[in-house]
Symmetry: C2
Subunit: 373 residues, 2 copies
């Protein structure tokens, strides 16, 4: 039994709006989920995150299993209460971070043994443990554990890895059903190979999930290749289940993803950029360290209603980032999340009006009205 229901509300070519109902509230799709890695969306209070329009956040199993530990979070009442985010939470499985952050020690059919990047302690992640951890966290949307394939692996290696991930997906489903939970998503793998992607999608449909994620993209293949893969695989995913493009992306990636039928996204880009002096706007990206902002009394984005744009000039934000003040990271993160949510809301409106193509054309044209920095 699932706690998730998904209703497609309106379609516009391949794109659609929908309503994903979880145990902790509704997510209007297409949705962008801010990343709250270590039980906090970096530099933001949860109230401020909700104020940007975000309805669901993502949190990371890898980081939380190392610190403070899922058993502790469970004893403290679960992740929602711990971090004071009453809305839906999607948790990843930890796989991606094990491969990208930890020191891998041993990997076999059973699971993966790794050393923590924090203190060198040894941990095991298996499909069953990944599900158990997410259950202890109290996740609304649980992700299967899969293997991440390197972009330069040959096709045979990608195929073996994908098939390996499909066996783990089956074990995740079994572990999830034993334990109960709110909703479980499978993850399509297969690198840049259309036939492997389709094989993966079919395998997942046979197992049966509440939603279907597309993994292993935005890892250096370029936007054109990513869109090509989406074009090849989205049609093989069930129409009546949400589709989630993991770890993506830049504003233009979101627009291209929605045009291709994606319902959910997550990415560290708006938050990480906020801590590295970059602002996304309707007219392109700004680097606030640039000296041309020194005496610019304009807001970041005159069409934005976020606190950074309402109350402060680019000159002040430039000053804050030059002085490495925390408030600079806070305000830029706030703006970026607000901008991302505005972009998603704009796409949802456009889809409901049947005008997403025109929205996308305007978006594309406006993105280049700033001088490149």
């Amino acid at each position: 039994m699932t706690g998730l229901t998904f209703d497609v509300l309106k379609t516009d070519n391949t794109a659609r709006t929908g309503r994903l109902t979880t145990a902790h509230g509704v997510i209007e799709t297409p949705a962008f989920m801010p990343v709250g890695t270590a039980a906090t969306v970096k530099a933001m209070t949860p109230e401020a995150v909700a104020g940007t329009g975000a309805q669901c956040i993502l949190s990371n199993t890898y980081h939380l299993m190392l610190r403070p530990g899922p058993e502790r979070i469970e004893r403290l009442g679960g992740l929602h209460s711990f971090m004071n985010w009453p809305g839906p939470i999607l948790t990843d499985s930890g796989g991606y971070q094990v491969w990208s952050l930890a020191d891998l020690r041993k990997m076999d059919e059973n699971g993966v043994e790794f050393r923590s990047h924090l203190d060198g302690s040894v941990h095991l992640l298996s499909p069953e443990r990944a599900i158990e951890i997410q259950h202890m966290l109290g996740s609304d949307i649980t992700m299967v554990l899969d293997e991440c394939t390197s972009l330069d692996a040959d096709k045979d290696a990608v195929a073996l890895s994908m098939q390996f991930s499909m066996r783990w997906a089956e074990r995740c489903k079994a572990a999830y059903e034993e334990r109960g939970g709110y909703g479980l998503f499978g993850i399509v793998q297969g690198g840049l190979h259309d036939d492997l992607r389709v094989e993966s999608a079919e395998a997942l449909k046979n197992i049966g999930f509440d939603g279907y994620a597309i993994g292993g993209l935005s890892v250096g293949e370029g936007q054109e290749e990513m869109f090509r893969v989406l074009d090849g695989v989205v049609g093989h995913l069930p129409q009546d289940r949400p589709r989630y493009l993991m770890g993506v992306g830049k504003p233009a990636d979101l627009v291209g993803g929605v045009l291709r039928g994606i319902d959910m996204f997550d990415c560290v880009l708006p938050t990480r950029s906020g801590r590295t002096n970059q602002a996304f706007t309707r007219h392109g990206a700004l680097n606030l360290r640039n000296a041309r902002h020194k005496e610019d009394l304009d807001p970041l984005d005159p069409e934005c209603g976020c606190p950074a744009c309402t109350n402060y000039s680019r000159a002040y934000l430039h000053h804050l980032v030059m002085a490495k003040e925390i408030l600079g990271a806070v305000l830029l993160t706030w703006h970026n999340l607000h901008y991302y949510q505005d972009l998603m809301a704009g796409m949802r409106r456009a889809i409901n009006e049947g005008s997403l193509d025109s929205f996308a054309a305007t978006f594309e044209a406006e993105q280049h009205t700033l001088t490149a920095e």
Copy 2:
């Protein structure tokens, strides 16, 4: 002509409540002013600062003269608009930071030449320039430039330095009157010597200021010595003008200062402590890194109504500081400023009820109900 008026509302022995009216609003005294060094109260939005109850902030001439520069802030519309703080702003003269942060190059009767700690550039600060800079910032309360004397200087040196500062105070007054402004405070010096402190107070009264600050304390002499100096000098300051104890202090210093007739305080302690894992509470100070908070579901201070205490457990705050998350610094700073403002509001109420002694006794008893950390 001054823009400042000060009304004593109620006295309770030496302590009193008052109302200091500035061009940008009223400050109820005794008041604690959070420090916004570089045109930001670190880790806080101005709205959040105001929400703690703070009515006036302090900003630093030294930091702002180096970056972004007073001429720039003036061109951008002044400090209030630049940093979006519509309330009163007190600016220091830059002297203390020149002596503590910069590389001193030359000092004579005219002024002090120093190298910036940021980029090594050479700057001159004189009484006239200090007043000019504060004028360009748009300060509501301007401070005279004085010399900071080392605590271990012998009495003759302290006397010479104090007399030097009095000559600068006179030049500051003249420069201020030429230029106009909202209000100018003199600063009593004289180290730990009662007779020099009295001589300094008399000299300042002869010049005539809108308020009188006591400088050169809380620099290592200990609380008992500081209180002894206050006991010796406060009676020599005008009853009808505000008295400001600069750079002080710990909660117990504020209580002792108010008992001795001080009306205004500033200190980096609540904000700096918020970034270094320390919380001040009604029951003493807590170090949030301490492992005993790992699974403590209690708030920092059950009697506090700040966002950190209302929405989060000590266990979560412990997690944030262990993970070095920005939100940890934000929430602890928020709490500390809230606690400081609650303490000042409590003292104002007690004075108005004639019960400050009893308030101070309760404060003292409760501060030790936490196990020392």
